[in-house]
């Protein structure tokens, strides 16, 4: 099916109006030497049912019937049915960026509400309409910090998600920034920003205040990366700890893990730096009759106005993912978000306690949220043993950190039951 409604008769009438005899004549501006003579070698179109079968068979090749303890930047949380029902409304998902505010109040108000929710959760003054994902949001924060401080050195703690740091490295090369990755930060008067993830890649929770002091004492900005934002249901917002920019990944709210995307990047900042924030911003205003309305604003920062002088090349946000996040956060509400975070915290600690009671050792000692690192003798044989019981035990950290060979990163969300955890422990003992 090609979804083209024109009939042959209509095509004929249109060609007649144009004054040509065939559609091919409309392509005579293309040199004939490069016009394709043969059909593309991608096969003919399939019927709807044939396509569905083909996709279903590919989907079935991915085994997902495991109990999974994988987190590491992609978190499986329960998504209430209303999320999919509401984001599936064609008025939302078949619309484009709300350039015509009078007929886009739906998306605009939803983004304004999203900005409010994210600002509140992060404790910042201003949040944008979202960026591509957490990793690119972190890179954008560095560009922003450079613009504000005029410095070119970025210091990232190694406990920031390794794939985020890889993205950061790519962006830093393009910008000729110096990227220093360290276990403990050394900030100098050349540092534009200190990047810290909280909870960090290993699930550990930090007191951000001392990092803020350290960064600010040298005139550098503190960028806090929140990859598991359900933690904000419980944890003190980075904005109350001196963060200048908060970035992160909001997939945990309302968006399936989707093999890594689409997700949505958070970026939020203080009143002082609101004109340096990249991407779309929705503001409240009034119409001619004095009633409230919403509109894209502070567009002088953006590429379609400023071209090469814009603060980023970003054009889109992840509006539909942000809508899903807003619906989920609204459903959780004031008390639900705290309960959700408490469930994650308690369950993860239950598993860690049970494992320790069975003689396992945790790699880190400090407080953690819903992820922790287990020290094993042989991570591969453990993962295999668990896989035989239909359990994906977590992420082998040796892949990213040679020092953490035989260490396993385990994530427990509210989707994991006590029975799941008991059978995890049983398999190991």
């Amino acid at each position: 099916m090609d979804f083209v409604p024109n009939t042959l008769e209509q095509q004929k009438e249109m060609l007649h109006t144009i004054g040509v005899s065939s559609i091919n004549e409309l392509f005579k501006d293309i040199p004939s030497s490069i016009l394709l003579q043969d059909p593309l070698a991608i096969g003919k179109g399939l019927s709807e049912i044939a396509v569905k079968r083909k996709l279903a068979s590919l989907a079935m090749c991915n085994k997902i019937s495991y109990t999974s303890f994988l987190g590491a930047g992609s978190y499986a949380h329960f998504i209430p049915s209303i999320v999919n029902a509401l984001i599936s409304r064609g008025e939302f998902y078949t619309a484009y960026t709300p350039y015509q505010p009078e007929i886009s109040q739906g998306v605009l108000q939803a983004i304004f509400e999203y900005q409010t929710l994210i600002a509140d959760l992060t404790g910042m003054d201003v949040a944008n309409a979202s960026l591509y994902d957490g990793s690119t949001a972190l890179a954008e924060a560095c560009i922003m910090a450079h613009t504000i401080t005029k410095r070119t050195q970025i210091v990232a703690l190694k406990s920031v998600h390794p794939e985020y740091r890889e993205v950061l490295k790519t962006y830093c090369t393009a910008h000729s920034f110096q990227l220093i990755e360290a276990d403990q930060p050394t900030i100098t008067d050349k540092t534009a920003a200190l990047l810290i993830q909280n909870p960090d890649f290993f699930g550990s929770v930090h007191d951000l205040r001392k990092y803020a002091e350290q960064a600010h004492s040298q005139g550098a900005l503190l960028v806090v990366n929140v990859v598991e934002p359900t933690s904000l249901g419980l944890l003190v917002p980075p904005g109350e700890c001196g963060a200048d920019i908060v970035v992160g990944e909001a997939q945990s709210f309302g968006n399936p893990i989707n093999f890594g995307g689409p997700y949505l990047g958070i970026i939020a900042t203080t009143e002082e730096f609101k004109r340096n924030i990249p991407g779309r911003l929705v503001g409240k205003t009034v119409d001619e009759e004095g009633q409230d309305g919403y509109i894209l604003t502070l567009q002088a920062r953006e590429q379609h106005i400023r071209r090469e002088k814009s603060c980023s090349n970003i054009c889109t946000n992840q509006a539909l993912c942000a809508l899903a996040a807003s619906i989920h956060i609204a459903a959780l509400g004031k008390t639900g978000i705290k309960e959700l975070a408490e469930l994650n915290l308690q369950k993860a600690h239950y598993l860690s306690r049970k494992l320790m009671e069975n003689g396992c050792q945790l790699y880190f000692n400090g407080p953690f949220y819903n992820e922790f690192v287990l020290k094993l003798d042989d991570v591969n044989s453990t993962l295999k043993k668990l896989a035989d019981k239909n359990i994906i035990g977590g992420l082998d950290l040796g892949k990213f950190y040679p020092d953490l060979k035989n260490c396993l990163l385990i994530c427990v969300t509210e989707l994991i039951t006590k029975e799941d955890m008991d059978s995890f422990v049983e398999t190991l003992s």
Partner: protein, 468 residues
């Protein structure tokens, strides 16, 4: 309409969480690390459903009606795409789940199909959007010249290019020089020649360009650029005009991005998510982002620029685009470009009798009118707002910048002649109204849920969140 926060009633909750089935332990987190409160709303499920349903009614999408927003390719988004992307085996697959054979196969197959459609040799699916693809493509250009030891720091773009082109160049540390368009709306070849030198890394071309015109001298242009040993970057935003008819690779393009949310029907989502794969010729392949997706395994490119996004990109959008390509196949994709071009030329032919057409030639998937000669000083913005009253989404306006009061119309192939006719009739009517009742046109829209909004106030006193 009230905000979520203004509808909040203390004590309400809209979600049913699993029970706490483990013993609760106190003081797991030091008190200093705990938050005191939050200001999230308290709503029941039906409150939330009604709130967002009401919001959706205040929004216009392709499902509501004709959406001829030029350069955005607002074609119909097939419903089957939404179903396949939500299949459990895709949506619930963790990026670190090793049992991912089906996902990698889909990505590989999609990459192969896109390479054939574009006439290119290699591809990355990582970029999350068109602008992200541009940035990735320019990073490849930068890495290539560094590798072969040439210092090239200039990017040339025509004055009709998208704003993202110079913005992406700047993000890569390139200097951008603008090339003039000639009287036919095409690249001014003498201006191109004057600016080509040993410092030019790449020329970014949108083909067909944003006026909807295919560069008649494309082969001469690409030869000139290649003779200068510069790279040709194609902004693939307008690929919808070309699919199945001509391949960018055959024109001489070295690197391009493909907007899956335009040509390949993935929905725009109110502003995203999209996806912007980047396809390249062989000589740029070693620099592609890691990891690449091979037939049976992931690929590590030897001189990779590194990752441009965590995990594998916007996988859910890749599933939709793949579903679309399989639905249409070679025969369907050919009908896409043919009907997109037919529809645009038909509208242009009929509207040129009523509106100024600054560049008169066969167009491809879109064309640009101007507000020159409108009666009583009626502007493009007035026309756009009046279209809202008639239930149409307006075209892209005031872009490209080289046309005064540009009205950029892209009908796409998924609209039938009768829809185009009704839009044309309304455009003609608005022209008449501009003469007979200019005040009514100037004060439009009259039927929308809000009237003209005060953009100056929004920018001067920014209110970017609800104040509790």
């Amino acid at each position: 309409m009230k905000l979520l926060f203004e509808k909040s009633i203390p004590g309400r909750k809209g979600v049913s969480l699993p029970l706490m089935d483990v013993p609760v332990q106190q003081d797991l987190m030091p008190k200093t690390l705990l938050r005191k409160s939050n200001q999230l709303p308290e709503l029941s499920e039906i409150d939330i459903v009604r709130h967002f349903t009401e919001l959706s009614r205040r929004n216009f999408g392709v499902d509501n009606g004709f959406y001829p927003l030029g350069s955005c390719t607002m074609k119909y988004n097939p419903k089957i795409n939404e179903e396949t992307a939500r299949m459990e085996g895709f949506a619930s697959l963790h990026p670190y789940n090793p049992n991912n054979k089906g996902a990698l196969e889909l990505m590989y197959e999609l990459g192969e199909d896109l390479k054939k459609i574009a006439g290119m040799d290699a591809i990355t699916l990582q970029p999350a959007a068109g602008a992200h693809g541009e940035l990735t493509g320019l990073m490849l250009v930068k890495a290539y010249f560094k590798d072969i030891g040439q210092d090239r720091s200039i990017i040339l773009t025509p004055d009709s290019s998208h704003g993202t082109n110079p913005a992406s160049s700047a993000m890569c540390g390139f200097e951008t020089i603008t090339i003039k368009s000639d009287l036919k709306g095409q690249v001014d070849i003498s201006d191109l020649k004057n600016n080509l030198n040993e410092r030019v890394a790449a020329v970014m071309l949108t083909i067909p360009n944003t006026l909807g015109i295919f560069e008649h001298s494309i082969l001469e242009i690409t030869k000139l650029i290649h003779d200068n040993e510069s790279i040709i970057y194609m902004d693939g935003a307008n690929l919808n005009a070309l699919v199945g008819k001509v391949r960018p690779g055959d024109m001489g393009v070295d690197v391009m991005h493909i907007n899956l949310h335009k040509t390949f029907s993935t929905p725009h989502g109110g502003g995203g998510p999209g996806a912007g794969p980047v396809a390249v010729k062989k000589f740029l392949e070693p620099y592609l982002p890691n990891p690449g997706v091979g037939k049976d395994s992931l690929i590590a490119y030897p001189k990779s620029i590194g990752r441009v996004r965590a995990f594998y990109g916007n996988f859910g959008m890749l599933v939709r685009a793949y579903t679309y390509i399989k639905s249409l196949g070679s025969d369907g994709l050919l009908r896409v470009s043919e009907n997109a071009v037919l529809n645009a030329n038909y509208m242009k032919e009929r509207l040129r009798k009523h509106y100024d057409l600054p560049y008169d030639s066969i167009c491809k998937h879109e064309f640009v009118l101007s507000d020159k000669n409108m009666p009583n000083g009626i502007t493009t913005n007035n026309i756009a707002k009046r279209l809202l009253d008639y239930g149409f989404h307006p075209p892209t306006i005031y872009f490209p910048l080289i046309v005064h009061g540009a009205i950029m119309i892209e009908p796409t192939e998924t609209e039938g002649k009768e829809v185009l006719d009704s839009f044309i009739e309304v455009m003609v009517k608005i022209k008449d109204e501009a003469a007979s009742d200019p005040e009514m046109v100037r004060t439009a829209p009259h039927t929308t849920v809000v009237k003209k909004l005060d953009a100056v106030l929004a920018a001067r006193k920014p209110c970017l969140k609800h104040c509790f």
